[in-house]
């Protein structure tokens, strides 16, 4: 369909009035730019917000104990209770759908008092007692050494893995960390590894100022016995943790003599559900992006259609001459269609490139100035680009349709008479 001759014909016609061609093209250029930018910004917002979830495995939930709100089996309401290590064993046993069951305990935390000492240096850090699985639920990069292992758990070794923030506060630059001792709440722990949280957003500082010790050593050193602060549960890939939740809660209530309808006794945060909600929100946002972008693009298309009508009107006589020389109506129609198609696609391509440049600039600025809350890496995928191109082709054809028909509506003899 596109021979070189056709191309020459079309480019000649478009070149004949460069300024007008440019102005017309701007409408489509602007429309597609806005469409792509809106989708990229939506995506940036989505990336930012989902990064707020950390890299925690999304098919997870956290679960902890609160006060009971109903008396049950002779026990009063307002009773406090704790999860124990044998709850972990029983959950693992009763629910094979669970991939990881990590009991956790914590000391210190956000703006706590100084709790760690090394020589003359002190610092306030969050200290977690954890099982080895935890690193699979919340991925982190081990920079040196290793993470907590099961032999640490079994031997209750007083070892710890420290974050980069901890290293910065307690050690001099380039000082060896592995094998040294730090004193947590008066108890010495040997450093066996350092870590940083991979691709983290938001809580970077807090995460870097964290110390991991084996769960069992934590219980012994800080007098937690086999009490569990909270549980981090991750389900197998095939199972949604949200559907599993009622059974998990029922089993735990049963074990701790909690009234089956006592909803306040056990607190939980369902990461999967929250994640799903956020994802739903962003599907709507990108729909809005497409919708608004398409509307803006449409005004550009109407602009092209309009200008093609004028061009056809202006060239009535030329079209008459061409028909006198032997151009069939189809040749004339297809030329008008192709002119509008090429105008649309060219300006659309420029628009997409321009939007890509803006996105690149945004990313560059973000990289330079550090992370912004709830916004990261605005980008569009190739599929969006192809969808945009598809929209352009369809709309270019639509824009040319009416003008193409009007071009051949007049009889050649009347067209030739036009001045």
């Amino acid at each position: 369909m596109f021979s070189k001759d056709r191309w020459d014909e079309i480019l000649e016609a478009l070149n004949a009035n460069k300024f007008r061609t440019l102005l017309t093209a701007f409408g489509v250029f602007w429309g597609i730019t806005i469409l792509v930018l809106l989708l990229a910004l939506t995506n940036g917002l989505k990336n930012g917000v989902t990064a707020g979830f950390g890299n925690f495995a999304t098919n997870s939930m956290f679960i902890w104990t609160q006060q009971t709100s109903k008396p049950y089996k002779g026990l009063p309401k307002g009773r406090r209770f704790n999860f124990k290590l044998d709850d972990v064993a029983s959950l693992k046993n009763d629910f094979p759908q669970l991939k990881y069951v990590s009991p956790r305990n914590q000391l210190g935390g956000y703006s706590g008092a100084n709790n760690v000492v090394r020589g003359t240096k002190t610092g306030a850090f969050q200290v977690n007692g954890d099982y080895p699985e935890f690193i699979k639920q919340q991925p982190m990069d081990i920079i040196q050494g290793r993470f907590v292992s099961y032999s640490d758990i079994n031997a209750k070794r007083k070892v710890c893995v420290i974050g980069t923030g901890v290293v910065k506060s307690l050690y001099d630059k380039n000082e060896e960390t592995l094998g040294t001792y730090i004193k947590i709440n008066g108890v010495n722990f040997m450093v066996i590894g350092t870590f940083k949280v991979s691709n983290s957003q938001g809580d970077k500082e807090e995460e870097a100022n964290t110390i991991f010790v084996p769960f069992t050593s934590f219980g012994q050193a800080f007098n937690f016995a086999d009490n569990v602060g909270w549980l981090a549960l991750t389900a197998n890939d095939g199972t949604n943790i949200t559907t599993l939740k009622p059974q998990l809660l029922e089993s735990l209530k049963n074990r701790h003599k909690v009234h089956p309808e006592d909803d306040r006794a056990i607190g939980n945060f369902d990461l999967s559900e929250a994640f799903g909600r956020v994802n739903g929100l962003f599907s709507i946002l990108s729909f809005v992006g497409y919708f608004v972008g398409a509307l803006v693009l449409m005004s550009g298309i109407i602009g092209i259609s309009n200008i093609m009508l004028i061009v056809v009107k202006e060239r009535t006589k030329e079209i008459g001459v061409r028909r006198a020389l032997g151009a069939t109506p189809w040749i004339i129609k297809s030329q008008v269609l192709q002119e509008s198609l090429i105008l649309t696609i060219l300006s659309g391509m420029v628009g997409i490139s321009f939007a890509a440049a803006v996105i690149w600039g945004l990313n560059y600025a973000l990289d330079m100035n550090g992370p912004v809350e709830n916004f990261a890496n605005p980008s569009v995928s190739m599929s969006v680009v192809f969808i945009a191109l598809f929209i352009l082709v369809v709309s270019g054809l639509l824009a040319g349709l009416i003008p193409a028909n009007s071009a051949t509506k007049m009889k050649p003899v009347d067209a030739l008479r036009m001045e």
Binding site: V321, L325, T328, K411, D414, L416
Partner: protein, 221 residues
């Protein structure tokens, strides 16, 4: 295109043989342009028949008409009707483009006809860089390019001064001498006398149709 119809031609019956140079004369409104348009298949007669080179021209749809025009006819207009953003060469090559001739042959043929009308050095000029006479010669080259059976010229000298008119007529006579059939509409008796046959139209009928002694245009140049 008004809603009121008007009978312009009221019974025209004439034949043109191959190689003739016919002028159709008449005052404005006599129907001479309408006749030419019907012969050029740009318009269609309400009744009657038209046979061109033993091909009955009837039941034309636009596509067939376009193909016939392309193959059988060459048009020369009063206002030249060159496409103003195309070079002289490309203008001449346009009918060949619609014939589907490839680019190389097209350029070669177009160049041949431009040379024939003496404008080879101007081949890459745009129409607005040419004089009126030159434009009409480009238009004649364009009409010749598809090697049509008949040339139809609608007041070919109407927009030209006497001197240029004579030059253009000389060219047209030369083309006729080579055997091409030419029909020419004019209201100038001087131009009509340069043809071989004059058909006079009045109010849609032929009032006379005479073969005349041809006046050669080159005696004025």
């Amino acid at each position: 295109m008004g809603t009121n119809s008007l009978h312009v031609l009221k019974g025209i019956n004439f034949n043109v043989k191959e190689g003739e140079l016919v002028s159709i004369m008449g005052s404005s409104g006599s129907g001479k342009s309408t006749l030419l348009n019907i012969l050029g298949m740009l318009d269609e007669a309400d009744e009657g028949s038209y046979t061109l080179d033993n091909v009955p021209i009837k039941n034309l749809n636009e596509k067939i008409a376009a193909n016939y025009r392309n193959k059988f006819l060459g048009f020369i207009f009063q206002s030249f009707n060159l496409i103003n953003y195309k070079s002289a060469l490309d203008n001449v090559a346009l009918p060949l483009y619609y014939q589907g001739v490839n680019r190389k042959d097209r350029i070669e043929k177009a160049m041949h006809y431009l040379d024939k009308v003496g404008l080879a050095p101007w081949s890459h000029h745009l129409p607005n860089e040419l004089s009126g006479g030159q434009k009409q010669r480009v238009a004649i080259a364009r009409a010749l390019a598809s090697d049509p059976k008949v040339l139809l010229a609608d007041e070919p000298t109407g927009a030209l001064d006497t001197k240029t008119s004579n030059e253009v007529m000389e060219l047209i006579q030369g083309i006729n001498d080579e055997g091409k059939t030419i029909l020419l509409v004019t209201h100038e008796p001087d131009i009509a006398r340069m043809t071989k046959r004059i058909v006079n139209l009045k109010d849609g009928v032929i009032i006379d149709d005479n073969f005349v002694e041809q006046v050669r245009a080159n005696q004025y140049v």
